[in-house]
């Protein structure tokens, strides 16, 4: 989540929203159906959040929080499975009859649309509207959301979307129900690309300029009733949405109300107190301070925990001394005290030690710990040994870039304390949230190391989890994601090899192996996975929070007349 949040970097400071966004298969902890009761049709579900959604327009917005929101009003060809599905990370058909059919060379993908699909104004949705909606991603001013369509679908370099150029030359619509994509190169995970939020239909000709800044044209079960940026969004049913065409969305409540701009502490207090309509409310993850207050059996019953989809790590600049030496980087991996990091981040309910890059919840995770220590509290002796082996036994000093956020500061201070034991002096460089990602994404500005986080773009595989952090070919002057700047031919070749695999399950096994191979070179120190705890109102049913994207479409009220 931490990385996805870049776009709403500040939102993140308070973070309630994104955290909503990032939550995950809590199904193990909470049993199959999340919070208590069975959802009934009717009523209004309230959502309390700190930050506003980035954009109503899915071609513009792309982060966990808004993705969950888009699911209520927009439909695509495919989508992430329902929150209560056996594998909630899987991709399933949405408006398409089935998943895509690739050609033998993997360059052409064909989808067939269902019949009876309509916009909220009653107009039918055909392949033409879908092509139009998808082509908006290429508009230079509007298509600032998910880059995956642009990364994979073939288009001339000067193609600038439907408003400036016209029809998309790489997408064909042979008939009203069929849509064909021509790819730049084979991309076995293309079903994930068309599940991205910007691959949704819009009536031809709509959405130019700022039209979708304040309004929507819905294809999903709800449509916009009113929108006051920064304070509230109200959704009502889209009467033209036909439940028979939708296997995933349940759309129990008649309306949704998003109350925006509340302080995290206030949100938690309201959920705890459960006064008035707050019994029908959900929100992002609760704050560490609130954990101490949900110890009563009644509240324990309500609280739901969800696994992390992101890893918090410390990246080290491998091009500069002392981190150009693998021994030094390995020493860092031995030396950090993950137990102290855990407490600093809110204790064992909100943080777990991470020893791998791929979080447990993401498909492809392999459990390993190359740099073990007793109780995860670090092995300074082993670290000291490694440092001595390269003549740094007397320690050294380095500068660590961190974001001005209380938790991240606490984490940095914990690292400072742990490394002091091996005479390594850590200078903290606290950067304002608004500039942090720019600084660490610019290799010339980043200092020796930085603490940040990374989440996959889709959770069904690790193809977007590890490579962006270690692929030597993605190092750029600005907006760099490989902050360790590691450029290892072996790593690069392995990435290409696994990406080409068409058996996605086999590929995931390989990503797990790859994670371990990368960690042997230790370009980064995985610090924590940060799971979350959620506290829905007592009348909420069918709620399965997820740290990556909570499925709002299966939530309802057990008693729609309450509140």
């Amino acid at each position: 989540m931490i990385r996805k949040a870049t776009r709403a970097a500040a939102a993140l400071a308070a973070a309630a929203l994104l955290l909503t966004a990032c939550s995950g298969g809590g199904q193990e902890a909470a049993g199959g159906d999340g919070s208590g009761g069975t959802p009934q049709t009717g009523g209004t579900v309230h959502m309390l959040q700190n930050a506003d959604f980035s954009y109503l327009d899915p071609a513009r917005g792309w982060d966990g929080g808004v993705n969950a929101f888009y699911r209520l009003i927009y439909r695509g060809l495919t989508m992430q499975a329902a929150g209560d599905a056996e594998d909630p990370n899987a991709v399933v058909p949405d408006m398409a009859e089935g998943l895509g059919t690739p050609s033998p060379d993997g360059l052409t993908w064909t989808y067939t649309l269902k019949e009876g699909l309509k916009f909220d104004n009653g107009d039918p949705i055909t392949s033409t509207e879908l092509e139009f909606g998808i082509s908006r991603a290429w508009d230079p001013e509007i298509g600032i959301g998910s880059p995956w369509l642009k990364n994979t679908v073939e288009a001339p370099a000067d193609y600038k979307g439907p408003y400036q150029t016209g029809d998309h030359p790489g997408i064909e619509t042979p008939d009203a129900q069929t849509i064909v994509f021509h790819l730049k190169a084979p991309f076995p995970e293309f079903d994930n690309v068309v599940s991205q939020v910007n691959a949704v239909p819009f009536p031809v000709g709509t959405g130019a300029g700022d039209e979708f800044i304040k309004d929507v044209i819905a294809s999903g079960p709800y449509t916009l009733d009113s929108y006051t940026p920064g304070s509230s969004i109200k959704l009502v049913r889209n009467e033209h949405w036909d439940a028979a065409t939708d296997e995933v969305r349940k759309a129990y409540p008649d309306a949704w109300e998003f109350e925006i701009g509340l302080e995290g502490a206030t949100i938690d207090e309201r959920l705890l107190a459960g006064q008035g309509t707050d019994v029908n409310a959900i929100a992002g993850k609760i704050q560490p301070a609130t954990l101490a207050r949900i110890q009563s059996p009644e509240l324990q019953e309500r609280a739901i925990s969800a696994e992390a989809y992101c890893v918090t790590y410390m990246g080290m600049d491998t091009t500069q001394a002392p981190f150009d030496k693998v021994e030094v980087r390995q020493a860092m991996n031995y030396a950090v005290d993950r137990t102290s990091l855990q407490t600093a981040s809110g204790g064992n309910q909100l943080a777990l030690p991470a020893t791998t890059i791929i979080p447990n919840a993401v498909n492809g995770h392999k459990d390993f710990d190359l740099y073990p220590s007793e109780g995860d509290s670090g092995d300074p002796a082993k670290a000291q040994e490694l440092l001595e082996s390269v003549g740094l036994g007397d320690g050294f000093s380095f500068t660590l870039d961190i974001r001005s956020n209380p938790i991240m500061q606490a984490q940095a201070e914990s690292i400072q304390q742990a490394l002091a034991k091996i005479n390594v002096d850590v200078q903290l460089n606290v950067i304002d949230t608004s500039t942090f990602y720019e600084t660490i994404g610019t290799p010339s500005q980043m200092h020796d190391a930085a603490i940040t986080g990374w989440c996959p773009d889709w959770a069904s595989s690790s193809s977007t989890m590890v490579p962006p952090l270690v692929d030597g070919r993605v190092i750029t002057e600005k907006g760099n994601t490989n902050i360790a700047q590691i450029n290892d031919p072996g790593i690069n070749a392995r990435i290409d090899e696994i990406r080409a695999m068409t058996d996605l399950d086999a590929a995931n096994v390989e990503w797990g192996e790859f994670d371990e191979e990368v960690m042997a070179l230790a370009p980064l120190v995985p610090l924590l996975q940060e799971p979350s705890v959620f506290l829905p109102g007592e009348n909420i049913a069918g709620y399965i929070p997820n740290t990556s994207m909570t499925d709002l479409t299966i939530i309802g009220l057990s008693d729609p007349s309450a509140g």
Partner: protein
């Protein structure tokens, strides 16, 4: 008098222009590149350039400044071709973060800020004047000293400390007030009142203290003026002396200063709105600062400066009109 007003208006425009220029320079020079921030994950240098062009920040400084100024008075057009957006005057530009028009954002949040400000103003004016009068009447006695102690406390307590203390005491511990919930006045007036009560108190306390002291000093001073003594000597009833000869002149300066303080509330409400999570202009400013959303910060800064400058001018004019003792300087 006309010359004075004209001069004052001109001065006001100069000040506003300087505020504008100054803010613009600071952001142009100091601030990080918003394009990189907006670009986010999976960004490429080309994408950054494109965003810079979209935002118009690829232009040289003076071009940007000029476009901004003309937009303010004549409106401007963003983008080209089918995506062009007309921004009517007074155009403050579009938020980098949400693409909303800044003017709209301000207008949308104005009711909340106005509610906070008006409620607080009523509270501090009532409390301040009442406290000041009581103090003046009881000068030197227990009530006066007690009120003096209260005003010193009120002036000293940082508003966020007061806000947290009140919330802890009234909501969490005693449960006298519910947690704030967005409720319109028309839906549930009681709930609405409860929501705003704490912000009003927090914002009013410091000002009420200042007003108490001012009122007290003015009333005591007026009571010693010759004409009041004369009126008393002539045997006018004490009530009449008070109303006609003491209160009016003593309160006139309070009312005029009030105009200025009210105009300056925007800055003062920033912390209050943030602490209580009220979606007013102050909170918007605080949020946009963390997000480096320059057009919004510019818009709020300009609006705040505008209100202060206008407030100042109105006060000066009122003063000249009401109090003949103030002579307008010839060099003005």
């Amino acid at each position: 008098m006309i010359r004075f007003v004209a001069n004052r208006l001109l001065g006001m425009l100069v000040v506003l222009f300087l505020v504008c220029l100054f803010t613009f320079v600071i952001f142009f020079v100091l601030s990080p590149d918003p394009a990189v921030q907006i670009c986010g994950k999976n960004c490429t240098p080309e994408a950054i350039d494109q965003i810079r062009a979209n935002l118009g920040i690829d232009q040289p400084f003076w071009t940007q400044f000029w476009t901004f100024l003309t937009g303010l008075f004549a409106g401007r057009t963003y983008g080209t071709g089918p995506n062009a957006i007309d921004c009517a005057a007074p155009c403050l530009g579009y938020s980098f973060q949400s693409s909303q028009a800044v003017t709209d954002m301000i207008v949308q949040r104005l009711p909340v800020s106005a509610t906070v400000a008006v409620g607080a103003a009523v509270l501090w004016l009532l409390a301040g004047v009442a406290g000041g009068l009581l103090s003046a009447v009881r000068e030197g006695r227990f009530a006066d000293r007690f009120i003096a102690g209260l005003t010193l406390t009120g002036m000293s307590i940082p508003n966020y400390v007061l806000a947290l203390s009140l919330q802890f005491l009234l909501v969490v511990t005693l449960g006298w007030l519910p947690f704030p919930q967005a409720v319109a006045f028309s839906d549930d007036p009681v709930r609405w009142f409860q929501n705003f009560l704490m912000p009003w108190i927090v914002l009013a306390v410091g000002m009420a203290a200042v007003y108490t002291r001012l009122t007290r000093a003015n009333v005591i001073e007026t009571l010693q003026e010759n004409y009041v003594r004369t009126a008393r000597a002539k045997g006018l009833s004490p009530g009449l002396v008070w109303r006609r000869h003491a209160l009016r002149p003593a309160l006139t300066p309070i009312v005029t200063i009030f105009g200025m303080d009210f105009a300056g509330l925007l800055g003062g409400a920033l912390i209050t709105e943030t602490v209580f999570g009220l979606n007013g202009i102050g909170k918007m400013a605080a949020d946009s600062i963390t997000k480096n959303d320059q057009p919004v910060i510019m818009g709020v800064t300009l609006l705040a400066a505008f209100l202060v400058v206008v407030g100042n001018m109105v006060v000066d004019l009122l003063y000249t009109a009401i109090d003949p003792r103030v002579r307008v300087g010839s060099s003005a």
